[in-house]
Symmetry: C2
Subunit: 472 residues, 2 copies
């Protein structure tokens, strides 16, 4: 069955109601626009369903008319997965599906629809004295459906795991429009293939996630945060090991900030101040959590003293108030923003076996200097789990676009080392369109073949976010 865009819009309106199908360019613009301006979507319309049933009917209509579907959450993705250059495609925005269907404090669980923002989920959990553990820079905007579909990571993943670990079950509209209700609230269920795993991290290419049942944790009542100066990356790793050994299951965050990054934050972010007098090539910001009545301050002090003695720490300070804790994290969280003020950045989202990190940094620096003298590496992020945001700021004074045009030329040799080391070139941001060709080239052909088999089995018409993850 073929149809015209106008006829499709009419049919969509009869499903979700006229106000919730946008087809004027002025209305669709904000959905087609990727927030950094790196990708410009051309979808002819946006449908904004409010119920799973409506999503199902939309997908059935798209299946009948072979209309490509781009599911969209908070439109905060970093790899272009949320928009499409195909003008025949329809954006299905889940943002109106924003109900928390259930919240059980004593059962440590929550069922939230795809359009609930991560922040709304966190706040709802906190009201019943629970923690929804996912925490991202974009948490005010990004949504449950999107974070499930991209298996989002963030700072708390070190202790609590990525989004995959938060999910008990899913409700998904499949490529044929059928509704799969897998919203279990169980910590253990070996009753067949664990189907939810297919949809987590699939970037909407196998179905549309419409709701998730998720795990909550006890709200930590004791929190200690420290800002620590380390002399080099080997010391940073040794510190990580020391903290893991001493505080297994309590080290919730372990983030790396380079001196250059700190300088950028101090220069560009209002009110940002150095937490330490010591200037050091690297800093590590860490957080420990525990339940009511636990004592972490003294053990942390002892641990830091041991680190000083061993020479793996040169200076450190522990936050003395909630405000100071926020200030420490503000330095880390505003780093990308500060970096933007310095011009264009080539951004690598890599993970490495931890022991490979120091050597990678050395080799990467040499390559960058050779290829583009004056370009400034600003590696930062989730040191604890080996996930580094290896950003490269343009040389001062260089034309921004001229620098960004060299993205692949500079990224490729660094990615090659990452792969050689057994690392990942898409650690937490996913594939989208940004890395789809790269993945097709660098993954083992057998792995690509397996991925294509899964895709063909679940979406034989290739209408679910085509061109994302799998090159088509």
């Amino acid at each position: 069955m073929t149809t015209t865009p106008a006829a499709l819009v009419d049919s969509l309106r009869s499903i979700v109601g006229a106000p919730y199908v946008l087809s004027d360019a002025s209305d669709t613009a904000s959905f087609n626009h990727e927030w950094r301006g790196l990708y410009e979507g051309k979808s002819f319309a946006v449908a904004r369903p409010e119920t799973t049933q409506q999503v199902s009917e939309i997908v059935k209509l798209c299946a009948q008319t072979q209309t490509p579907i781009v599911p969209q959450g908070g439109n905060t993705g970093l790899v272009g997965g949320q928009v499409s250059a195909d003008s025949r495609s329809l954006i299905v925005s889940l943002s109106r599906m924003n109900k928390i269907r259930s919240l059980v404090g004593e059962g440590f669980s929550m069922v939230a629809e795809a359009g609930v923002t991560v922040q709304a989920a966190q706040e709802a959990a906190e009201k019943v004295n629970r923690l929804f553990a996912l925490s991202l820079g974009s948490e005010g905007s990004c949504q449950i459906g999107g974070t499930v579909s991209t298996n989002a990571g963030g700072m708390n993943a070190l202790l609590y795991g990525m989004m995959r670990s938060q999910v008990f079950g899913l409700e998904v509209v499949l490529a044929g429009g059928q509704i799969w209700n897998g919203l279990k609230l169980l910590r253990k269920d070996n009753s067949g293939y664990d189907l939810k795993q297919l949809f987590i991290g699939a970037e909407g290419t196998l179905g549309i996630v419409t709701a998730a049942s998720m795990k909550l944790f006890p709200l930590p009542e004791v929190v200690e945060t420290a800002f620590i100066a380390v002399p080099n990356m080997e010391a940073a790793l040794a510190l990580t090991g020391l903290l893991q050994d001493r505080f297994p299951q309590q080290l919730s965050r372990c983030e790396l900030i380079p001196e250059l990054g700190l300088q950028m934050v101090i220069a560009h972010i209002a009110g940002a101040r150095r937490p330490l007098k010591t200037v050091s090539p690297w800093y590590v910001v860490i957080e420990l959590v525990a339940g009511k009545g636990a004592e972490l301050r003294e053990p942390l002090n002892q641990c830091l003293a041991a680190g000083l003695e061993q020479g793996i720490i040169t200076d450190a300070t522990i936050a003395d108030s909630g405000q100071q804790r926020k200030d420490f994290w503000h330095l880390r969280e505003t780093l990308p923003e500060a970096q933007r003020e310095e011009g264009g950045s080539i951004k690598l989202d890599i993970s490495l076996p931890l022991k490979c990190v120091p050597d990678f940094f050395k080799r990467a620096e040499a390559i960058i200097e050779r290829l583009c003298s004056g370009a400034r590496p600003v590696p930062f992020g989730h040191l604890g789990d080996g996930n580094i945001h290896y950003d490269i700021c343009q040389p001062p004074g260089m034309d921004k676009q001229a620098f960004l045009n060299r993205w692949d030329e500079i990224a490729d040799p660094l990615h090659a080392i990452v792969l050689e080391d057994g690392g990942s070139i898409a650690a937490e941001h996913g594939i989208g369109v940004l890395k789809v060709k790269k993945i097709a080239k660098t993954k083992a052909p057998l792995e690509i073949e397996l991925m294509k088999k899964i895709k063909a089995a679940l979406d034989p018409q290739n209408i679910m976010n085509p061109g994302k993850i799998i090159d088509s």
Copy 2:
């Protein structure tokens, strides 16, 4: 290509060497025999490869000859997944693939072949001061490949997760004989579909797991174990909540023992003694873990005192030595053995949303009494994550087989309540053949259809452990 069993045996011998292909009934007997005698396998031969390459060649041969393959690890499964009634089938035993390929203490990781026993993995990790967290009653015999393929649970799953949570990556021989090397050592990798998830818990129906890269944890240096009497199941749940709140990320075990179960252990297990003078309908055995120098005893004492005051605890004792700790756990671990001395048991492996547990127990007791007066429920196990081994001992004096013949009649109405409550009727032991028809009947047809699509996509000839998980 068709062939005779004799020709197949010859070809297999040329792959793995003559001594490692067993075809005499006397040699294959121990592999075909399920340890409890509930299933008798009829596989015509057993191949015992030593390398992944050999597994690959075996599978290629089986694919060419349409020979069904039954992958077998320690042969400790509880649902008959490790044997086959099909006399054309070949058992591929992975027990000779027992090398630990790498072990990195500072990287908290291990790569082990499928035939490494869980205990060997634990011991190897301990040598580098690390914890391999999976812990099962059968850990001396069960193997990594089998525990991956069944997504094994066990007592530590409460804190550390099931086997799925321990796996960074897998090496798998696919149904066509291709070797997929997915042995990454990364905590974060969103570079496409997470293919390992397909094979974890698939019971060998999608491929043969030949090795796994796995997560290690810091070895806990402070451990506190308590044996606690609670007046009723509502109190047991309240205690669980209290402990979770007070010791988030430190409560590693939370196990239920009923008074009747304790009586059986005291009666049948040499040296078993009651830890408390108080006789109570239910006991909860818990364990807390932490890093070096942490203080758990006093906080635990305070927590138990609070429980006493609230009336959710009637008595409790904390283990004062390693020996006493072992004694407490011995009571829990020998419960199934003690139960065997009381005759036949109908065993349900269920999980429920925690809040549903007390009411389920009440309803189940009434049903059992009505159907088979005198039969004795002995619900025990992983209370913390809602996974109860709901065993029903035969009425004293009844013929064992006569009782076991009533398995479905008694289990079915209990399973119906579990499903009504949103629970699982296969929480950690899997499907195998025991529950394959039950799953086909009780799961949503759409879910069965999805499972069949995955199976057809990865094993179109249906040679990988056919008849397990998916009814064929």
